[in-house]
């Protein structure tokens, strides 16, 4: 029972980490980044290369984040910016970008599964329960990311500008905020978070060119259900993540894989604005 609860909490934490980059981009740019899955994959390979090069696995998420930020900046300038007024086309273009990244990785590394070294192994003793140390660490990382993003949004000038653009872009521009720059940095940040998350989850899984895909869809659902708010993303991750763990353990892992998608579609039908906006 305690194990199940820990599974629920750590799964939710992982979902939160994976979805945060998507949410930041959706919030500020009102854009669903379909390349999110590919960015996760990119992060996975960055982690693989880091450990292959003999560097500490702890460095992997940071390096992956930096790579993601750089790639994100370029992608925003070349692909996303021209489509700012065609949101559905932007979804398609980022999906196309995902294909490109996936194929480049396939050409570079082949289709086979690779493994990245884990920064830590073994279990921690939590008052009599042995539980995976890395999953517990990820939960702490999730809390740290949530805290850092909140601080960024609420305590910095960039955060204020970003929130102003989220609420009313026209007014923000009229008051001297260069919204194009805010969007550029936001996309970089979101891509960086996604790559970092990809690196963080690789020790739990293997690395392959399509590793991001299953996470992509679940991330969407979480972000759409939560709306643009860090606490409500955490809440949505906790509710839907726990439901997924419960269904997987008590009914069937295959149906468990559907839980988030189906629950989210129904929740959105009932509360079209998502949990963040209340009812």
């Amino acid at each position: 029972m305690a194990n199940l609860a820990l599974d629920m909490i750590t799964t939710s934490a992982i979902l939160f980490v994976v979805a945060s980059g998507l949410m930041i981009i959706l919030g500020v740019m009102k854009l669903i980044n379909f390349a999110h899955g590919a960015f996760l994959t990119l992060g996975g390979y960055a982690a693989y290369l880091t450990t292959e090069a003999g560097l500490s696995p702890w460095l992997a998420p940071l390096l992956a984040g930096a790579v993601g930020f750089g790639v994100g900046i370029v992608v925003e300038r070349v692909i996303v910016r021209p489509l700012y007024h065609r949101p559905l086309d932007a979804i398609l273009a980022t999906w196309g970008l995902g294909i490109i990244i996936g194929q480049l990785i396939t050409i570079g590394f082949g289709r086979e599964v690779q493994f990245a070294a884990s920064p830590m192994t073994g279990t921690l003793d939590l008052g009599g329960i042995e539980y995976s140390a890395y999953r517990l660490t990820l939960t702490a990382v999730a809390l740290a990311i949530g805290g850092a993003l909140t601080a960024l949004l609420y305590l910095t000038r960039f955060g204020l500008n970003a929130r102003a653009v989220i609420m009313n872009e026209t007014l923000a521009r009229g008051l001297g905020i260069d919204s194009a720059r805010v969007r550029l940095l936001t996309f970089g940040l979101g891509a960086g978070l996604a790559c970092g998350a990809g690196a963080l989850i690789t020790p739990l899984l293997s690395v392959d060119p399509n590793m991001g895909l299953p996470w992509l869809v679940n991330s969407f659902m979480l972000v759409l259900v939560s709306g643009v708010s860090i606490p409500s993303l955490a809440l949505a991750s906790l509710i839907l993540g726990s439901a997924q763990v419960a269904v997987s353990s008590y009914i069937s892992p295959i149906i468990g894989g559907l839980t988030i998608v189906v629950l989210a579609a129904v929740l959105l039908r009932l509360y079209p604005k998502g949990l963040g906006r209340g009812t």
């Binding site: 204020l160 102003a164 609420m167 521009r173 009229g174 001297g176 905020i177 919204s179």
Partner: protein, 243 residues
Amino acid sequence: MSAAAADAATPALLSVEAVSAGYGGATVIDGVSLAISQGEILTVLGKNGMGKTTLMKTIMGFVKAQAGRITLAGEEVTRRPPHAMARAGVAYAPQEFTIFQDLTVEENLRVGVPDDRTFAERVDSLADVFPRMLERLKQRAGTLSGGEQKMLIMSRAVLAQPRLMLIDEISEGLQPTMIDRMAEVLRATRERNGTAVLLVEQHLSFALSVADRFAVLKLGQIVEQGPAGDPGAASVLVHHLKV
């Protein structure tokens, strides 16, 4: 040629020369020329749908000018993006979508002041004009009353310490005492910073009491201009605004 009048005295801070603009294929303002010198308050009057707001949006860069030229302190700024205009010292107080409802009053003010170091000082200066704003700094702006929201808009424009303020129908829906206060603030800002003001209004007595000059915009064109203090101005204007 009405812009010529400005050339005679000091060089204009803002000069709008034969500017046409509109949405899609439609032209809403058609060959408008006007000039404002430093420290001058010009009011543009006209009824709804005559192009007043479009004129402001065109100066600010929200609407692209189809023809003509706009300069700020001698520098061409036609078709410059809005954020660049704001950074060049133009504060815009629009009539619609005026505040960030979900930000606090303080955050609303901070967005308009890019300089974080002097922000506290500038906010303190509100004590003279809108003390009520200081009491509400931590409150969500959406919970302010209509009059308080107008105060916030005006405060934000003043705190930016601009060279030029573009103010769109600030008097609408305000009580007479509040309107007087707005007039005081405009005059004080002009005294303190030499700020020039373009004031778009429908409220005739308010506009004429604050402004140095007036212009009447009708169906996208300037049909009348003159000094606001002129005793005949009011009757001329009533004639124009009635039809």
